[in-house]
């Protein structure tokens, strides 16, 4: 392997033992996960709630001892070199972990002290982080007065206090309003530009699609598929172009004509023709020209490209969106 990896796991496993009415019950939360996160990339761990995303991330952050398997985080062995890992990674949990009674500054300074940074440097760094994450207007107020987006900014700043090379973010934008979410995406991209590797969990398709270089989809404790958002979407196959015509006759003629493009699949349903074709955006102009030339006028046309939701649907047989409801 030539590329440097910041996270590498083999068969990472976590089994919880819970006692319900005296009966021991084993729950396999993570059933042997293999991950390879490259240095400098944004790696998205996508899956519905309860799929094992957070559990995996907690293991990688040293919070939770794994039941089995091996892992290297930031170059250190997860079983043996936990204190080294703690020094080299930042972790922002879903709850965040700001001390709501303290101000942003107090939170940041304490965090620095926990990493053994002396008071003077801690203060200076806190000021830098406040500027970096644009918290000037509220950093000297108690965190209990912050909006969701402001609090999240402080959470991430806390995670970046000791300038880790790897940042673990557990659902960084869950519960944020759309504006704050976009802002957070920008911040995460900026961190990447600064050379920080990011491993984030999310159950938002758009987030994984927009932000991540590599995605692993996890369901029920197992990784079902890995790849770049593009690769995953292409694995679904063709784009779909739907044509609506004024009557069934025209639709039928169009269907026969469009066979010329050797589509993956073409279906006729009343006045609608569905054309399944690779690179639909590129094929579209030519398709339109041909229809025009034969005087077959479509009333409406929609091009839909496969989304990561379709990817999830293909591999699990369920829609992620339904799961989240």
């Amino acid at each position: 392997m030539t590329e440097e990896l910041v996270i590498e796991t083999k068969g990472l496993k976590k089994t919880f033992v819970s006692k319900i009415k005296g009966k021991k019950k084993e729950v396999e939360a993570v059933k042997g996960v293999d991950l390879a996160v490259k240095k400098g990339e944004i790696f998205g761990f996508l899956g519905p709630n309860g799929a094992g995303k957070s559990t995996t991330q907690k293991m990688l952050s040293t919070l939770l001892p794994p039941t089995g398997g091996e892992a290297k985080v930031a170059g250190f062995d997860l079983q043996k070199e936990q204190s080294q890992i703690r020094k080299n990674i930042g972790y922002v949990s879903q709850a965040g972990g700001t001390d709501s009674g303290a101000t942003g500054y107090e939170n940041l300074i304490l965090q620095a002290q926990l990493y053994g940074i002396d008071d003077k440097t801690a203060k200076k760094q806190a000021e830098e982080l406040v500027k970096r994450f644009q918290m000037d207007s509220f950093a000297d107020r108690p965190a209990s007065t912050y909006s969701g987006g402001q609090k999240r900014r402080l959470d991430v700043a806390l995670g970046m206090t000791h300038r880790p090379q790897l940042l673990l973010l557990d659902e960084p934008t869950t519960g944020l309003d759309p504006q704050s979410r976009v802002y957070m995406w920008e911040e995460i991209k900026k961190l990447k530009a600064d050379g920080v590797s990011i491993f984030l969990t999310t159950h938002y398709m758009e987030e994984a699609d927009n932000l991540c270089d590599t995605i692993a989809i996890i369901d029920d404790g197992t990784i079902i598929v890995k790849g770049t958002p593009m690769e995953l979407k292409n694995s679904i196959g063709a784009d779909i172009i739907v044509f609506g015509f004024s009557d069934e006759n025209i639709a039928r003629k169009s269907e026969q004509l469009l066979e010329k493009f050797h589509p993956e699949k073409i279906t006729l349903e009343e006045t609608f023709v569905r054309l399944h074709i690779k690179d639909g955006d590129r094929a579209m102009p030519e398709v339109l020209r041909l229809l025009d030339a034969n005087n077959l006028k479509a009333q409406n046309i929609t091009l839909s490209r496969p989304s990561l939701d379709d990817v999830f649907l293909k591999y699990t047989g369920r829609s992620l969106r339904e799961d989240n409801k």
Binding site: K58, I89, S93, A95, G97, T98, D99, G101, E106
Partner: protein, 244 residues
């Protein structure tokens, strides 16, 4: 860690005084009752304040520190503890910072109550009092650690209060704080001997009287110290298991 927790307390210093209210009530509404009893075994006439205050201070350490677990649950829920756990800071510092804060709050209260009681006829042996503060601090650390252990195990408030009440009430009843155990039937006295804090109360009384040669003192210190060590270790263990 200690400073962070101290700051948390100082943000609402009013509570340090609110929690003083209960011991003050005992001082003014219960002690006069004992005065009337003066002369019964274990309670020499005219000296009730001398017997009662050292016990009351131990009780403050018992109750005052027993419910600190609630404030840890807040920190667990908001992810603060998790955030601390992923830093290289030592696990024991996370708890030590808290129990030392709790002990300091308690000692402040003990000093205040003692000052209030002096005009009521309490005579204080200064050296003994300072030593007894060490004892109260240890009792306080024991109770606080226990409280944190349960908080770490339950992680929700609901079962915490009944559990802590169930433990603290017999501990205080069986320590001879309210009334001297000399009044108790023999079986009750035997039961009290199993209560580590009754030794703390005896030691506290001996120290206030300045009886430094009294074996009760050494007994009290050794027993409370051992108990404190065990309970603190338990809380540390609970913290390590938090994520399981």
């Amino acid at each position: 860690m200690f400073i962070r927790n101290m700051r948390q307390t100082l943000r609402s210093p009013i509570f340090v005084f609110v929690s003083l209210f209960q011991p003050l009530l005992y001082l003014f509404l219960f002690m006069p009752l004992l005065n009337g009893l003066g002369g019964v075994p274990g309670l020499p006439a005219g000296k009730t304040v001398q017997i009662f205050i050292p016990g009351l201070l131990v009780m403050m350490a018992l109750f005052g520190s027993a419910f600190v677990g609630f404030n840890l649950i807040d920190d667990i829920r908001s992810g603060v503890i998790e955030r601390f756990l992923v830093t290289p800071v030592s696990r024991s510092a996370i708890l030590l910072g808290r129990v030392l804060r709790d002990a300091l709050v308690l000692l402040t209260q003990c000093v205040l109550i003692t000052l209030v009681a002096i005009p009521l006829g309490l005579s204080v042996n200064v050296g003994g009092f300072l030593l007894s503060l060490v004892l109260y601090a240890m009792v306080s650390i024991t109770m606080a650690s226990m409280s944190y252990s349960f908080a770490l195990i339950y992680r929700i408030e609901d079962p915490l209060a009944p559990t802590l009440n169930t433990i603290t009430l017999p501990l205080s009843l069986l320590s001879g704080i309210m009334l001297p155990l000399a009044l108790a039937p023999l079986w009750l006295q035997d039961l009290a001997k199993a209560n580590p804090f009754s030794y703390a109360v005896n030691a506290s009384r001996a120290l206030f009287a300045g009886n430094f040669h009294n074996m009760d003192i050494i007994e009290g210190f050794v027993i409370v110290f051992l108990l404190m060590s065990v309970v603190f270790w338990w809380s540390l263990n609970s913290l390590r298991k938090l994520e399981e």
